[in-house]
């Protein structure tokens, strides 16, 4: 069966040859680079993987883009952007894929999907320690263990973390 992208619950902002997708169901925001965007846009259920690969090969001017398409589909599927989940390649295939992708890197033909989940965005905006790390004027992300912050600036005082729900 040919891959089909999910459309429901998504708002797509086309940014040149990239796309940013707002997922109103999960609250996540996804950034698709040129190759990922091309694959995502073309997954209409009528286009098979071979045709997708030929499209990427033509646009990026590379000889063989099958692995890049597979990787893009896996990345999109893992983020819930495909209607039918696509299984992740096994370890041997992923290792072989790495070799092929190295060759595609120069042509910028590697797909990339960056995601900020709602939880990550919330953590970025809503939690922080009230005191600066020792020797600095700011707070570095750390891990709180028994009320003390453990990071590259071990802090002698109990962490005061503001986490607003």
């Amino acid at each position: 069966m040919n891959p089909i992208t999910r459309k429901k619950g998504l708002t797509i902002k086309q940014m040149g040859d990239e796309a940013v997708i707002f997922d109103t169901e999960s609250g996540a925001v996804h950034h698709l680079n040129r190759v990922a965007e091309m694959v995502w846009r073309s997954c209409d259920g009528r286009t098979d993987k071979e045709a997708l690969a030929r499209m990427v090969e033509r646009v990026c001017n590379v000889p063989e883009a099958g692995e890049a398409v597979d990787l893009a589909l896996e990345q999109l599927s893992r983020r819930g952007l495909m209607t039918i989940p696509i299984e992740r390649a096994d370890a041997v295939r992923r290792m072989n894929r790495r070799v092929v992708l190295k060759g595609l890197a120069k042509a910028m033909a590697i797909p990339a999907v960056l995601t900020i989940t709602a939880g990550q965005a919330r953590a970025r905006t809503l939690s922080y320690c009230l005191y600066p790390c020792p020797g600095t004027n700011f707070v570095v992300d750390g891990v709180i263990v028994n009320g003390f912050c453990i990071n590259s600036f071990p802090c002698p005082q109990p962490a005061v973390i503001v986490v607003v729900a």
């Binding site: 902002k13 040149g16 680079n33 965005a121 970025r124 009230l130 600095t136 700011f138």
Partner: protein, 283 residues
């Protein structure tokens, strides 16, 4: 709410800010000046005591009896928010709760966690998470002659212009934090909305040099969205405003060293940017 109401509230203030009606009640005979100082910039007192969002701050005793710890308690609506013996912590969290409510719910405005300053008629926006060095960089920019807009939230309208949110700067020092008005740094505070000239995503790294890399419009939108409230990025208005900004404003990313030299580099980069056709035609 009835249990909370029974705690004995003696005074309060109801106000509007960015189209929202907010109240803070306290257990002291009057609302203390340091509580009023936590209210958002530009707040306007409202006559009606009926509000959409209520914070309840029970201040512990100034001189607790021996052997008794008197906590400061803060409730956001019914949710217990803070229980602390440190009054400054309680007030900081009160201010944060109010700011976050406004940032999530403000009408016709999009709040992004970012510092913002004005420079020669255009704004520089510095997205970054809370207390990650934004205020330090904003302070250095102000000392270099920039106009103060905010050290915490860049407030955008639908056209992508940035509006002032001139709260007191939060400047950390060993063992605590100072709240400093921009005027005390000799800086002017912006009054009008400004067109954004440049977005700069920067983080402090000891010894780092300023080596800006231009961000694509897609990555710029991701930066803005990741520093906006999740509630905002799920609205069409929020997505449109941020998308418009990302397409129309150049954005750069670089690690930075000390704030003073980074500020000089940023202002030089801003001066080197060409004016938009609209700006060229302005007097």
């Amino acid at each position: 709410m009835q249990k909370l109401d029974r705690l004995g509230w003696a005074a309060g203030v109801a106000f509007t800010s960015f189209g929202l009606s907010i109240g803070v009640r306290v257990n002291t005979p009057d609302v203390p000046a340091d509580v009023l100082a936590c209210l958002p910039p530009g707040w306007v007192r409202q006559d009606s005591p009926v509000v959409d969002y209520l914070l309840s701050l029970r201040l512990g005793g100034v001189r607790p009896r021996p052997g008794v710890r008197e906590f400061h308690l803060l409730y956001s609506e019914l949710r217990p928010s803070t229980r602390t013996t440190d009054r400054d912590v309680a007030l900081t969290i009160l201010e944060t709760e109010i700011q976050l409510h406004i940032a999530r719910q403000a009408q016709n405005r999009v709040f992004v966690h970012a510092g913002a300053v004005g420079w020669r008629g255009r704004a520089i926006v510095l997205p970054g998470k809370s207390h990650a060095g934004k205020s330090t960089l904003v302070k250095a920019l102000l000392e270099a002659g920039a106009t103060y807009y905010s050290d915490e939230f860049a407030v955008f309208d639908a056209q992508g212009n940035v509006h002032p949110y001139p709260r007191r700067l939060s400047l950390r020092r060993p063992g605590g934090m100072d709240r400093v008005p921009a005027e005390s740094l000799g800086a002017e505070t912006g009054k009008d909305a400004l067109r954004v000239g440049m977005i700069v995503r920067t983080e402090y790294r000891p010894g780092a040099e300023w080596q800006p890399q231009r961000l694509s419009s897609g990555k710029t939108l991701m930066e803005l969205a990741s520093h906006a409230m999740p509630e905002v990025t799920q609205t069409a208005a929020g997505q449109d405003a941020l998308g418009h900004l990302a397409l129309s404003v150049p954005a750069y990313r670089s690690f930075r060293g000390e704030a003073v030299s980074a500020a000089a580099d940023i202002l030089r980069a801003m001066d080197a940017l060409p004016l938009s056709p609209h700006e060229r035609s302005s007097p």
